[in-house]
Amino acid sequence: MVGFHGWKKLSVLAIFLLPNLIGFSIFILFPILGSFVISFTEWDLLSPPQFIGIDNYIQIIRDPGFYNALGNTLFFIIGYLPTVIIISLTIAILLNKSIKGRLFFRAAYFVPVVSSWVAVSLIWKWLFNPAYGIVNYVLSLVGITGPAWLHDPHYAMIAIIITSVWKDIGFLMVMFLAGLQNIPDTFYEAASIDGASSFRKLWNITIPLLAPTTFFVLIISLINSFQVFDQVMIMTGGGPAGTTTVLVQQIYNHAFRYYEMGYASAMSWFLFLIIFVITAFQLRMQKRWVDYGN
């Protein structure tokens, strides 16, 4: 490198990198390490932490509250993931055509994405109001008596899933659109010359060539949905009767309501483990996709 030696080099590095590196170490790196250490202790923040080995991790396995939260989170994922992917993929495919008002539609679908979870959750809480909400009003127009949604243990999580799908469609849609734009037109032109119907084009060109994008979107959404929290906290607070309590909420409750820092940290590392496994799987599969592309 030109004009870059010794002390001068160090001082340049110090100016550019050090402010970020110091903050990164204090506010990100140190807390990560700290969390790992804390997960082997019992600590209520009042008395000094006690080292208790892997007891916190053992407690996770025995904690019915944890299994309830894990089950609810999985229920959320099973309802949310396929729905949001199918809808956003459909919208993206329709918007990828040269239709009028494309930009308007894209903007409309993206508005919920830029709004906060708090705003979206409060709006939907009002829409799901059993007596005066629009959702039950619309249902009553077609002769259905709507449930009490967020107050009904059978429907509360479904209402949260609907809200989450609604908010995230736009986010997944733009990722699908980016993937669709990468499919070369020549494939479609060749298929047109061969007289392929648009359904065949969709089935034999778009879907297979979009597979890496779909896989990527699926993984990201899966990781995000394991971290579902804001909308639950605001719409139900975990109720009714614990039917919507999710993993992150358990972590939050144990840390900031019961002041069990060790146990909360151990649970957060369990969450990390899930995310780590999913990411590792993704990286492996991605290699295979790339090979496939070649």
Binding site: L13, L17, P19, W126, Y132, V174, S198, I251
Partner: protein, 286 residues
Amino acid sequence: MGIEQKKKRKRSDQMKFVKNIAFYVILILGAVIMIVPFLWMISTSLKTRGATMVMPPQLIPDNITFENYVQITEAFPVLQFLGNSIIVAVFTTIGQVVLCSMAAYAFARLEFRGRDMLFLLYLGTMMVPMQVTMTPQFILMSYFGWLDTYQGLIMPGVFSAFGTFLLRQFLLTIPKSLEEAAFIDGASHWRIYWQIMLPMAKPALATLTVFAFMQSWNNYLWPLIMVSQEKMMTLPLGLATLQGRWETNWNLMMAGVVISVIPVLAVYLFAQKYFIKGMTLSGLKE
């Protein structure tokens, strides 16, 4: 062209027409479902409490009133929340863009021992969810005496591995020849960063700016942990906290929500492409 062929073409045109209509119907229906909740939010915020409990619901209220907006700003500290949100979001965004762009310059343009390892460490932390770091971060903040303070709300959000990564990737694409010419003319690193790199990286900087602003503006979990006094609450936290008191006053609640979504929606409308880019790139870090 034979008559048969003409007929065939006509039929395929008709098919296309019908199909296009079907596409539009789906898209418009979808767009309506996306937009109606927001219209309903605005409509409710302009109603009296009694009018929110009228069946069938009125999308356009008979009596439009701005009373709710007056009431939530006078009887509740909503303007204080708004001010806190602006302070936190603005300083977090500025801090993030400045510090990330400087570190990105070091990672992309300077050569030093351990650079790639260090960068890998930054990348690695992006995989660790916020839930892992939040407990020790909270403890750290309480040791610093930063609970219920602006610095406590701002500082942890300033240091972003994602932002550093995003800008570093962009700076790598800028050709080396540009800065080499400047070096020969005797320019310092600072000048190259300031006068060559930053202007060239404008699209990436804009993307990070709107993304960081949106994230900070919409953040709920961190203020929830950090803040217990009402006067330090940001809008999302304040609204979530007030909802207990406003439970049956949906007109007040929706007026508060309108105030919280308008700023970010305004920024979105002006800088749409950067939002979309930021979200697409962010992937993992929603």
